[in-house]
């Protein structure tokens, strides 16, 4: 069968399964999730055998150590997949809720009912555990899923797919509710992101390269997460103890995460007293600083930040520092150079915090709190399929609700429209 014909069949099967999933009860979905957990547990020896094939092939292909580490299915990682399935089963079901029910002058009742999006395509790179993550969140939100993992994890993903299928079967749900693409041919991705008749939304999970490529080529809407170039602005009215704690936490809690601070903006009136102490602490942690010319006057040893630096998400122990002469300059800098992910102000001035909250165009705006809070679990979403840097549909951390839509429901009793 050609790739086109195969993908079309996958799409048709997903669409058909999604129609059935729309009316499935919460209990049936939860039973399937728990049955998948059992099937994974039972398949543990097989998962390791299949995973070993991927690892071996990875060695042969000369994959680097970090990539090989991400590929590996250790017992702890299998435990964590099983635990994840049980956690998703325990989450409230978003589907079916009817809100905003109003009585209109025409005599109809009108409300909004939360419904699945339909079919979700997820494209991801090397970690095989994403297969379970994505399958469980899509199923819980009533969506059929088409999953396309990285070719390096082919055997692992197929083995996980088999356990997923057993779980669906045991709960009498459509076997095509979750499909893992069984070819590593790249044309399959091209077809997946252009079958708008069968796929309602694409969620790419991986590096910026993957996401940019998919966004450029997709003919289906994409919920995408590009970079997290996050800022902390320390105002002249800041409580500098709070500012110190927040700046250190935002930068050094973890370096490789999208909610880490990448640029620190300081009001000129507090830079002299605040910066040396902070720079010393960053120095102890091994964080490299670059700064504007004004910053260099205070910290003589550091490099000059280039225009490129202000745009950069370092994802590592490096930070750019800029001294600004007003909050407005900070806001303009953030809106120009930032990635609209997460940005914070530290200030005790009530009016300034209120203006910053409104004027900064980011998916999360923090007042006197660390950027590190921008996270689905910290926000109480229970699970996270990703963090959206888009503005339409879902913005910021995306949980189950981001995988749903709302339709209007109208109840009348023979009502017709006059004009």
């Amino acid at each position: 069968m050609s790739i086109d014909a195969y993908m079309k069949e996958v799409g048709q099967q997903a669409r058909s399964a999604s129609r059935k999933l729309a009316s499935v009860s919460t209990e049936e979905k939860n039973q399937a999730l728990c049955a998948m957990a059992d099937a994974l547990e039972a398949a543990r020896p097989l998962l390791k055998v299949e995973n070993a094939k991927d690892i071996e092939a990875g060695h042969a292909k000369g994959l680097d150590a970090a990539l090989l580490d991400r590929l590996e299915l250790t017992d702890a990682r299998i435990d964590s997949m099983i635990e994840g399935l049980n956690q998703v089963a325990a989450l409230p079901d978003p589907i079916g809720e009817i809100t905003d029910m109003v009585y209109r002058p025409s005599g109809i009742h009108l409300g909004k009912m939360r419904v699945p999006l339909g079919v979700i395509g997820i494209i991801y790179e090397s970690r095989p555990n994403v297969t379970i993550d994505a399958a469980s969140l899509c199923l819980k939100s009533g969506n059929a899923a088409i999953l396309r993992g990285g070719s390096e994890a082919y055997y692992s993903n197929q083995a996980i797919a088999h356990a997923v299928k057993l779980g669906l079967k045991k709960a009498h749900l459509p076997e095509y509710a979750v499909q893992v693409i069984n070819t590593t041919d790249r044309d399959a991705v091209g077809k997946l992101i252009s079958m708008s008749e069968f796929v309602d939304v694409i969620v790419p999970r991986g590096g910026k390269g993957l996401i940019t490529r998919i966004s450029n080529d997709a003919r289906v809407p994409v919920i995408k997460h590009l970079d997290g170039n996050c800022h902390v602005y320390v105002d002249d009215q800041a409580d500098l103890d709070k500012a110190y704690a927040i700046a250190m936490n935002a930068k050094t809690r973890r370096y490789g995460v999208c909610n880490a601070m990448e640029s620190l903006l300081l009001h000129k009136d507090i830079a002299d007293i605040f910066l040396p102490k902070l720079a010393a602490a960053f120095g102890e942690k091994g964080v490299e600083l670059v700064g504007c010319a004004e910053t260099q006057k205070i910290l003589s040893g550091i490099g000059l930040a280039t225009e490129e630096d202000w745009y950069t998400e370092y994802l590592g122990p490096k930070l750019s520092v800029k001294i600004v002469s007003s909050m407005n300059e900070a806001i303009e800098h953030i809106n120009k150079y930032g990635s609209h992910h997460t940005d914070a102000i530290v200030s005790q001035d009530y009016s300034k915090t209120r203006l910053f909250m409104t004027a900064v165009d980011s998916s999360s705006v923090m007042i006197n709190a660390s950027t590190a809070f921008a996270d689905g679990f910290e926000y109480g979403l229970g699970a996270e399929i990703g963090i959206s840097t888009d503005k339409i549909h879902a913005r910021g951390p995306v949980g189950l609700e981001g995988l749903t839509s709302q339709k209007y429901v109208v109840m009348g009793d023979g009502h017709t429209r006059d004009n």
Copy 2:
């Protein structure tokens, strides 16, 4: 200046204006809307002079009578644009609302703030009044607008744009908050729908050809409205008086609208008694019927509906009729052949109506009510930029809220994240 350079400048100006609009007060926006209304009134003679140029050019190009009619700016239409501006000024401002404010175990307060999308590109065909519609809705929702009207309405749109600019100026809002593209070059559209750095969403308004073309080529998210192939299903448990009223209203209230019924599905047990009476009434109205073989057995004179008929939005006095043996068959037919716009059931059976509401995958699902209610004004949205047949972001009638997004706001008091 090249088209590319011109459009880039338009994009940059819009982005810059949108940053300012994000913090503008409701009063300032309303003042601008009212000042635009005054400017239109003052420009009435000029509008007619400019409009006459378009009409003359249209005659010369041999445009058909319907198109020429849509182009014309009569006094009544100018009145209606002015009235529209005042109505939008009177609508509640969606921007700034903070909802779902919760207190998290970490000690932060977390809420969602409603914010503008940013820059909205609107592409439309011949009616010049859309220029005012689109400008007013975008401005009220805090968005900068880039408007591209049809080339046939070039002079009219430029004259309206001038009045819009005067209104913005009088209210001291950024003059680039609304820009009407001043070239008829088609490359401008291509550039507009691909400048994702300057444009956040595209709303095409016009025929299916325009919308399909734009959706296929856009690199910016599109809120689109394709066809309205709407169904009414009359169940064996229907109150046939209600069914008659609803079917007649859904089909014959207006033929050219997207919420009109295009296909009638009848349960086999009531077809014999219901169909002849209904067919006679449709006959009196001049509605042509085509039907399935079973329908033909009851109405011997009508044509056989082809596979193509079931997919067709006639937008005219024609209706396809199908007899089904169960509600499930009706649901499957609707989900397969429909356009997921608006579909209705007529039934007195409680359980069936509840299942239909859940299982039909359409932006509006009606129970015992005419499909004609699917409309922004009937739904109380106050105004309507279009009806979305998409599932992501906005679904069904789109009012001001559909032109907004939500960002997370977090308030702490020096809070940092532990793990």
